[in-house]
Symmetry: C2
Subunit: 251 residues, 2 copies
Amino acid sequence: MCQLLGMNANTPTDVMFSFTGFATRAEEHKDGFGIAFFEDKGVRLFVDTSSARESPVAEMVRRYPIRSENIVAHIRKATQGRVALENTHPFVRELWGRYWVFAHNGDLKNYAPRLHGAFRPVGNTDSERAFCWLMQELAKSHASVPSIAELTATLAELVPQVAAHGVFNAMLDNGQALWAHCSTQLHHIVRQHPFARASLQDDDVTVDFAQQTSPRDRVAVVVTEPLTKDEQWHAFAPGEMRVFVDGAPLA
Amino acid sequence: MCQLLGMNANTPTDVMFSFTGFATRAEEHKDGFGIAFFEDKGVRLFVDTSSARESPVAEMVRRYPIRSENIVAHIRKATQGRVALENTHPFVRELWGRYWVFAHNGDLKNYAPRLHGAFRPVGNTDSERAFCWLMQELAKSHASVPSIAELTATLAELVPQVAAHGVFNAMLDNGQALWAHCSTQLHHIVRQHPFARASLQDDDVTVDFAQQTSPRDRVAVVVTEPLTKDEQWHAFAPGEMRVFVDGAPLA
């Protein structure tokens, strides 16, 4: 099983603290890592086939405070598809003049959706097949970028069709919102005023968010397993999809 | 005007020497840089809106010897489109289950091609519009990845239609071949056995390729202006397109 990390904020926020804790878990998830940062409509994607603990690319991410409102990261333990760059999450595609970023944790059995549209997998993972199918079906459902509410309604119809094939903990982000679906394991937290201190679960690192934030900042973090030991994380229910906008889950 | 750098090799080759010389030219081209490395079918794309001289991302590229058979890099001086990540070359799209990387130096005047297919620009440069149009027309011309000869024939029909709108020095790469088109300025060199020493034009750096290579290695480098002062660079003719495979231009 891989692990997922997503962040959605109402102001450009760096993810160094969360990524440090997340990368610590890469010992067991050594078959690559990837992280995508939106910067307005643009996206930076860093991927590597070595572990997030050892990769010089991951080292740069930890040191370089890239600020973003939407981030999706993934550490990989290969279940389907060999260890190769083209099989490393997150995956990126363009639709309606927007980039879409996708990462998946889980395993889809005998999953061969009919791909007759403009999105074809480059690698050979179940995950990229699922992403291409979702993009294809979104492209059929709307003529241009719809509202977040409309996209959420369409995804609520599409995602269960993928999830029916196995375990589908997944994140999709278009720079405006982060959609997260839980099959088996996913947690979220919203950090907002008054900000407190937090200590990483897996590492001897503590941060005082109050010193790094302004009172109107709000940041949602979604992750496979809680990253900190002194904050209140909320578990997703199996089959639950949540959408995060401006650092908070929509009702 | 921006500057372009492309590399096509018959064995995974690092581009540190060439990129060092290329990045030196970023003083005048300070509106961002980008570099894409193919690794088999996968691609790594590093982009930044700061100068290649100052960007920590460029610093990592200079230090980290990523080896690739196909590389496209670009340093940007904005002519159309604001300085933003979504306007930074190279651009990447997927077609037929392969990634395609594109970078452009030049300026297309009043260029508004009809984009009715699956490729839409995310930013607002003439360059990304041209790339989307090329991808759209390639998608119409072939049902799946054609041979390099067939692709070259199709591109030979399409590219002049873009170039008719202004200056179109451009590179397209799909990890199998590098297509380079010259409107005004482009040079190439093939480095092969017996390898010699070379000294950068803009920087006090010399490399002895014989110490870093094996006799069967072959590397083609394509660049706006020659990078070294002691090698024989070949200028493209205006309107000329060349395709490079396994480190050499095809006849």
